[in-house]
Amino acid sequence: MSERGILWRIVAGQILLLVLFLGTVEVVVQKGIVGRLYLSAPTQVVQELVKLLQQSETFRNLYVTLLEFTLGFGLSVVLGFGIGLFLVLVSRAEQFFNPFLSALMAIPKVTIVPLLTLWLGIGLVHKVAVVFLFCIFPIIYNTVAGIKQTSENYLKVARVFEATSYQTVTKVILPSAVPSIFAGLRVSAGSGLIGALFGEMLASKEGLGNMLVQSTSLYDTARVFALITVVTVVSILIIAFINLLEKKVFLRWKSS
């Protein structure tokens, strides 16, 4: 069979599997085999989703979550990148700070979140701090790795042309570290969103995580599934945005 034919079969199979799965859930819930408290029929979830999208409350909470994420993520990009640069470019800095960084990285971040609540309250600052905590380490790590991977030969070229240290950093080291830095950004974006939601679920007055907890405690299971859908789409969009940025702005040289 042709490659194209095989591809079509795979796609058809995938659709079939999805329809079967959703259909089974629908039937199982509609027939009352599993109670509506535990599971929701896909059609209910869709209805709930439509309802959610008609309420301004949803968008207000979405805005809150995105704001927390953006501030926390932005802060970690700037600081993580700066710290990463500092560690590699200042001689011996990495050697000195490495044990501390490793120890900090090893702490499961979720365990700090309640403490942060104690210190910072349950508002925006708390969430930004949580997102920051979830994001910063992969960014530092990947910045350091990317810079260190700069090919010895690229640096030789710069030396032959008698580039200053500043020129070597801006014209050679940073551009060659871009792919690794973006890999770090993608990882952190995912965990940053988790941080924002987790912080909201633990202690908050607003945000999508807050809505999720409320719906769960009201046993509004369909609404919970609808919210999960919204959050998933947001997560996908964030990663897609970072990919687009990488491709359009920073990696023109690899795109074609």
């Binding site: 070229v157 042309f161 990696l251 040289w253």
Partner: protein
């Protein structure tokens, strides 16, 4: 007059067991000549070239360029690397203008120079391509243009055609000779290819390996343009092979496992 005077240069790499890469090299490189440094891998020929470029310093001895002892990279010394090491995030044009850009030459003033050398190496029309879109030979051409655009007096070339296919290599050799004649630069060309060395060089310096020592210098006074397969050139080629072979018999008994 600019030229190199290499005086009793040795290079030892440290570490638990120090390795002598080059031992007591004494050599004068004349202004405007095309000098080939020939030797098997491990003879320290790339080390010697990097020292001429100021990228490494001798452990003992000194290299004088012009009238000064070489202490580091110098604007008058251009390098073409074996792996062309073009920056993949820059277009061909941007790669070639790198040296001028680093020196702070204004963008408008860079354009003509860059274009001139792109034309000279035969890369017209490829200005806006990225390195990954070029063939191996074209990458080397871009590497050559990048060195030339900085207007050096000397071109130091480290096995620049080592990684391209044979026919492309012959073409690159011819083009390099044309450029050399047009630009009147001193060229120091490192290679492990006897045929290439003899076809290109005014002189061929043969190094013997472990530690790298100057074995013999061959003068090639044949007129240019030279014919490939010229009987006189073949004769020198055979002499070089003989010198290498004798060397092997003495210094490097084959071990069989």
């Amino acid at each position: 007059m600019a030229g190199f005077s290499i005086r009793h240069v040795s290079k030892v790499y440290g570490g638990a067991v120090p390795t002598v890469a080059l031992e007591d090299i004494d050599l004068t490189i004349h202004d405007g000549e095309f000098l080939c440094i020939l030797g098997p891998s491990g003879c320290g020929k790339s080390t010697l070239l990097e020292m001429l470029a100021g990228l490494q310093l001798p452990t003992s001895g000194e290299i004088v360029y012009g009238d000064k002892i070489l202490q580091g990279p110098d604007r008058r010394l251009g390098v073409v690397f074996q792996d062309p090491s073009l920056y993949p995030w820059r277009t061909v044009f941007e790669n070639v203008e790198l040296g001028l850009e680093i020196r702070g030459v204004k963008k408008a003033d860079r354009k003509n120079t860059v274009q001139k050398y792109l034309t000279m190496v035969g890369l017209d029309g490829f200005e806006h391509k990225y390195p990954h879109q070029l063939s191996g030979g074209m990458k080397q051409r871009a590497g050559l243009a990048r060195a030339l655009a900085n207007r050096p007096d000397v071109l130091l070339m480290d096995e620049p055609f080592g990684a391209v296919d044979h026919l492309t290599r012959l073409q690159l050799q011819n083009d390099l000779l044309n450029i050399w004649e047009a630009e009147k630069k001193t060229v120091v060309f490192v290679t492990h290819d006897v045929n290439e060395a003899v076809f290109l060089g005014d002189r061929v310096v043969l190094l013997s390996p472990r530690p790298g020592k100057l074995k013999q210098i061959f003068n090639i006074s044949h007129q240019r343009p030279r014919e490939r397969g010229d009987a006189g050139l073949l004769k020198i080629q055979n002499d070089i092979y003989a010198a290498i072979y004798e060397n092997k018999k003495q210094a490097e008994p084959e071990y069989h496992l």
